[in-house]
Symmetry: C2
Subunit: 215 residues, 2 copies
DNA sequence: CCCTATATTAATTAAATGATCAATTAATAT
DNA sequence: ATATTAATTGATCATTTAATTAATATAGGG
């Protein structure tokens, strides 16, 4: 954070990773404080570059945010679609498998520091002002959600698709809340309880959600 | 918004509601844009008062936010505890009734404009930086959550309290997500589906959550 | 009726913010 | 070799921000 790299102006020798370092620093700081409360000064200081670099690489603060969100967001959705495709190829899967396929890529992000930062940003996207979040969110979410609902509909022919949509919305609520910060949940009960980690938590949500969906 | 009330300095004649009008305007604007992105200038303009009034009545921007949150937050938690007490007095209730008692006061808020503003603030509290949100959230949430978990534990003697805690956390995730903005969910599927309103949505969540809890 | 507490405005302050620009240096293409 | 493009610094800009203060006017208790 903030290490000094060079002194004078001008293009430095060799190749640099300043663009990625800005993205990484922004990801971390946006995760901690949200978009509006994070200044370009904070971000560029953490990345060890001057403020002008943000405008050089990204054009503006808001465009930087969009890049941060899309970078891991698109990968996450691709992973979800890929897992569902695998299920379809293998065949012989049920509702639990579909729910699990949706959850696993998100919980995998939770195993790295940067992934956890991204997950906090993602959770916050659902409460940020529409002007900031709506278009981005839809760009990333629309296709995967529809694809998963269609897959569930095929497995649950007795249920209207509309009902599946409603219940899948509830599943999203569960996993977003759990992933938005496990630390917090322990605080509520004064650390008397801990949430299970990863695999166990995934299976808990899968079981909970499957029971709610198939009821 | 921004109507002019008076011209000169000095205490105005009669009684005023400027304090409440500041709270109302702040509630609406904090709901729309979040804490950091809402300026005191915005709030005081909307309330039709000068900026200095915020510091006069509340001391600072952050203290104003806390008052906004606590005003309806404490009432909400009181209502939850009261409904649970009613159940206990009447006797003969089950898991569904407990879940419903937790949800009903929140969904009642959704029936008024100001209530919907508050619910957006509440949903955002779960992703705001800990420095802003942690203490407030705990102050309001701690007792009711524990009380409800204890009530559920009495009804589900086969389950460890720890398990009930985990599953109740999932229930909170569901309802927060649903209430954080129903409009958004319709957008995701290009308005092909609508979420049920109030009573129906409450019963949907009650059924979903009960199935997940009792499984 | 006077005095003090209360409520309000207008002006001001210092700090922070996002953005822009000219200057500078290295890499790359011709 | 030379010209152009890419990457970077440091300084500066106009705004916006939250907060403070002095002045002013009314309310209400003795």
């Amino acid at each position: 954070m903030g290490r000094i790299k060079r002194q004078g102006a001008g293009r430095p020798g060799g190749s640099t990773q300043n663009r990625d370092e800005i993205l990484d620093a922004a990801e971390r700081l946006f995760a901690d404080a949200g978009y509006a409360a994070t200044s370009l000064k904070d971000i560029t200081a953490a990345a060890g570059v001057t403020q002008a670099m943000v405008n050089y690489y990204f054009g503006s603060k808001i465009k930087l945010f969009q890049q941060v969100y899309l970078r891991k967001g698109e990968a996450l959705q691709q992973a979800r679609l890929a897992l569902l495709d695998e299920l379809k190829e293998r065949g012989g899967f049920d509702v639990s498998d579909v729910i699990r396929a949706y959850l696993v890529p998100a919980f995998q992000l939770q195993t790295t520091v940067a992934g956890r930062h991204y997950l906090r940003i993602q959770a916050r996207m659902h409460t940020e002002p529409d002007a900031l979040a709506y278009k981005l969110r839809q760009e990333v979410y629309d296709v995967p959600v529809r694809t998963y609902i269609a897959a569930l509909a095929a497995l649950l022919p007795d249920l209207e698709e509309r009902v599946i949509f409603i219940r899948f919305t509830e599943v999203i609520g569960i996993y977003l809340y759990i992933l938005s910060g496990a630390h917090r949940i322990e605080q509520i009960s004064e650390a008397r309880y801990m949430l299970p980690v990863n695999e166990d938590m995934i299976e808990e949500i899968v079981a909970f959600a499957t029971a709610g969906l198939k009821r």
